[in-house]
């Protein structure tokens, strides 16, 4: 962490909360901070920004209607007219990839939010309540751990049916046990920390301590965890669509496009390769950015 050491923020004594002084010091040195960030992170961030823009306003990038079928234009090689070529139904692959960003990222973020919320509720409750509640929740989470996350998601889909929303919920539930366990550990650490004891000693009520001291310190590292989780959720959601359980045709969802394209890989590689590439990019960039943020935060503490 050679770069982090030069950060004036790090020279501040480590504490549970960032002080306002700390934050001021940061904003004053924004230019240096920017220079400190490695090029790879900038690259990842740029791709991520493109993906987010594509998700928010696909019409900015789409060159064709992603759903316009034209059998006579099927299997067109990538070129100037069709940047990523056309698929088996003559649809523009680039426009479909752009249109798919919204679906894929939406599922990724929603699923992560659901997973974190569920996992957070379970983990924090277990960590704070202690004893019987902790034992009960921990055992229940262990039972859920017996199922691989994707299998758990498949079970949810088997019960509630296919679709974009259900697959987001399914992936969310699938990831919840992992978050629950991590957050329980984090909560236990925070509850045992000296500043929580101090809060007790100062005569704060348990509820006040929970809201103002415990939860903020448990939740802060979550932001990083969430960024890492989005990448995983995008991959899982694509896997479900690949299996035909997520987005329904003709939706331009990356996993579904990959599934459609795999039969044609020998004659038209571009139909499967580009959606596959973007699944990889989405997972890679969120992970790289998330890891970097994690290191920066850890470096501060």
């Amino acid at each position: 962490m050679s770069t982090a050491i030069q950060d004036p923020a790090v020279t501040q004594p480590p504490g549970p909360h960032q002080t306002s002084r700390n934050r001021r010091a940061r904003s004053g040195d924004l230019a240096r901070l920017i220079l400190d960030i490695p090029l790879g992170i900038w690259g990842a961030a740029a791709v991520l920004v493109f993906l987010l823009l594509a998700a928010a306003a696909p019409q900015l990038f789409m060159t064709h209607d992603p759903y316009a079928v034209d059998p006579s234009a099927a299997f067109t090689v990538p070129g100037t007219e069709h940047l990523f070529g056309t698929d088996q139904n003559g649809r523009d692959v680039f426009s479909r990839v752009v249109a798919g960003a919204g679906q894929s990222l939406l599922i990724g973020f929603t699923a992560t939010a659901i997973g974190l919320t569920l996992g957070g509720l379970l983990g924090i409750t277990a960590g704070v309540m202690g004893r019987f509640v902790d034992t009960a929740i921990s055992r229940a989470v262990e039972v859920l751990f017996a199922f691989p996350g994707l299998l758990l998601a498949l079970i949810v889909i088997a019960i509630s049916g296919t679709g974009v929303i259900t697959s987001a919920v399914a992936v969310g539930i699938g990831t919840a046990p992992g978050y629950a366990r991590m957050l329980r550990t984090q909560t236990l650490q925070v509850v045992a920390a000296p500043y929580v004891e101090t809060a007790h000693a100062l005569g704060r009520s348990p509820a006040y301590t929970l809201w103002h001291t415990v939860i903020p310190n448990v939740v802060r590292p979550l932001l990083v965890l969430a960024t890492l989780g989005v990448g995983q959720a995008v991959v899982w959601a694509s896997s479900l669509s690949f299996l035909g359980l997520g987005a329904q045709p003709p939706a331009a969802e990356w996993g579904a496009m990959l599934a459609d394209g795999r039969s044609y890989i020998q004659i038209a590689w571009w139909i499967a390769v580009f959606p596959g590439l973007f699944i990889t990019l989405a997972a890679l960039t969120t992970t790289v950015v998330g890891r970097y943020a994690q290191r920066r935060l850890e470096g501060q503490e």
Binding site: V69, P71, A74, A158, F242, L243, Q248, P249, S263, Q266
Partner: protein, 535 residues
């Protein structure tokens, strides 16, 4: 991504199985099929993958040749009573099932009764035997089958592997057991079955009942037959190219050109008789209870263009109710509903679907014109899925929302059995024009015990014509009646027929020879096959 890895792993799992022709004279033949089999016994349910396998381990009472002629098999001869109600079969006395049970008149009786038993849930064989009343065992080698009406197609359906003859002793076991290890008199016997993975068969060394269409007599040439289930198109074809399997069915359309250019691979292609692959309209509920909406859907569908783009000319367009390989087929109905969007739009306007919502779909009384196709992507080749997407797009152009609902096989079956759909993807392979009775006559409505009438049609005039065609053996009279029937079905717009079902087998001719198609249903027949070179 995970799924890709899983597929790659399963795709390779069989690669290590080296075969050793020296170990067993005749060698091992590995066949890969594209559609899963839930029960091996072809009497239960009755889907094509069961018939394909059954043709290799079951014999039938009679056999059929390439021209539709009926010949002896387990029956050496037969007489039909003048009223067409009684069939007297004279049976071979020297045939034994592979579990040691002798084949005789009682076995014929046990089989036919197994097929019509409601507990067997026999949609295909049981459906064909609707006119069946009883079998009388006269002596060991004479069985008399009584029907409740003349049934000109009776011998034709008896020749199909779906009605193959199984050991009566084996049939007495619980259904689940018989599904996993059915016993016949055929050239191979089932020795192991791993559900949805593979079936292992070995040669029946005592085989002495080859049919007239076979090219030799006595035991089969190959010693062991492995029947692998590989639903993934690219994987199955890749295994053929890599030499992990000797032959595959459901040759992926996208790979035809490459396979044709490969001198180690040859293709066996044959259109099948029956009802072409189609989308059947559910006419029991709106909006397809209105013939104008059905016709609009037909005029709005660009089927030929779709077939050319995703099937690369590997299937033949089937626009009428019957496949062109069916006896009494008339070409007159092939292009009745050639694409015409203006006509489609006029019909929908007339039907009152005049509003438009913000997505451009037609509405009536504020309700969107939306139709649902419950779809099981695993059961269909990827080219078919692409075709469905194209039909979805062409329907949108005339303001119809076609929802393709991806579901698992069991859910699709449940929906199908309860008329919970607007469109249903299907086909019916059988060697007779009587298929029209199976798929559209009121006898086959679910309320009457069988569920093969997926349109929900009840038309007394059509019923009468189809039954009249069974009551006569006069070919000209039958042709006339089946022409009328085809006309009624075409006019009624009960199905969007797409393309003829076809057997499309890819064979590694550098490794095996003698792979043929069984004539009644054109399913792969490996009795005459030989392993010529080991890997």
């Amino acid at each position: 991504m995970i799924a890709v890895v899983v597929l790659a792993v399963t795709g390779c799992s069989g690669a290590a199985e080296a075969r050793d022709p020296a170990q067993n004279d005749g060698g091992q033949f590995v066949f890969a099929t594209g559609k899963g089999i839930t029960c091996l016994d072809p009497h239960v349910g009755g889907d094509m993958p069961q018939a394909s396998l059954a043709a290799n381990y079951l014999d039938s009472i009679v056999s059929m040749d390439e021209d539709g002629g009926i010949h002896p098999w387990l029956a050496t001869s037969w007489e039909v009573s003048d009223d067409g109600l009684r069939y007297t079969f004279h049976l071979r006395d020297d045939v034994t099932f592979t579990d040691g049970t002798p084949f005789n008149a009682a076995a014929v009786k046990a089989n036919l009764e197994h097929m019509v038993d409601p507990d067997t849930h026999s949609g295909t064989a049981g459906g064909y035997l609707e006119p069946y009343v009883k079998t009388t065992v006269v002596d060991e080698t004479t069985a008399v089958v009584t029907l409740d009406r003349p049934y000109a197609a009776f011998l034709e359906v008896l020749a199909q592997p779906f009605l193959g003859i199984q050991s009566p002793k084996a049939l007495q076991r619980p259904q689940a057991e018989n599904c996993a290890s059915p016993v016949g008199t055929g050239p191979f016997k089932v020795v192991d079955y791993v559900p949805q993975s593979e079936v292992k068969l070995v040669r029946n060394e005592d085989y002495n009942s080859a049919p007239p269409f076979a090219e030799h007599q006595g035991p089969a040439h190959i010693a062991e037959l492995v029947w692998r289930i590989i639903p993934e198109d690219a994987t199955r074809y890749g295994m053929l190219r890599a030499g992990q399997v000797d032959a595959i069915d459901r040759m992926p359309a996208v790979n035809f050109a490459e396979a044709r250019a490969d001198d180690r691979v040859s293709l066996i292609l044959q259109d099948r008789p029956g009802n072409p692959t189609n989308l059947t309209f559910n006419i029991t509920r709106p909006p397809f209870d209105d013939i104008r909406v059905r016709k609009a859907f037909l005029y709005g569908s660009y089927v030929k263009a779709g077939i050319e783009s995703v099937y690369f000319g590997t299937v033949t367009h089937g626009g009428g109710p019957l496949s062109s390989a069916t006896r009494f087929y008339s070409p007159r109905f092939e292009n009745v509903y050639a694409p015409d969007q203006a006509k489609a739009n006029r019909l929908l306007d007339k039907a009152g679907w005049t509003g438009r919502d913000d997505e451009g779909y037609r509405t009536k009384d504020g309700k969107r014109l939306s139709v649902v196709l419950p779809y099981d992507p695993v059961s269909w080749p990827s080219a078919f899925t692409a075709l469905m997407t194209q039909l979805q797009a062409s329907a949108k152009q005339i303001g119809i929302e076609m929802v393709i609902q991806n579901l698992d096989t069991a859910t699709v079956t449940e929906r199908t059995n309860n008329f919970k759909y607007d469109l249903r993807a299907g086909y019916w392979n059988t060697n007779t024009a009587d298929v029209l009775r199976i798929i559209l006559s009121s006898e086959y409505l679910p309320s009457n015990g069988f569920g093969s009438n997926k349109a929900g049609l009840s038309d007394p005039e059509l019923d009468r014509i189809l039954n009249a065609a069974l009551a006569t053996n006069d070919a000209d009279e039958r042709r006339k009646l089946y022409l009328q029937a085809q006309e009624i079905v075409s006019d009624g717009a009960y199905q969007l027929t797409l393309f003829n079902q076809a057997s499309q087998i890819g064979v590694r001719t550098d490794r095996v020879s003698g792979v043929r198609l069984e004539p009644s249903l054109s399913v792969p027949y490996l009795y005459d096959a030989k392993v010529v070179a080991a890997s």
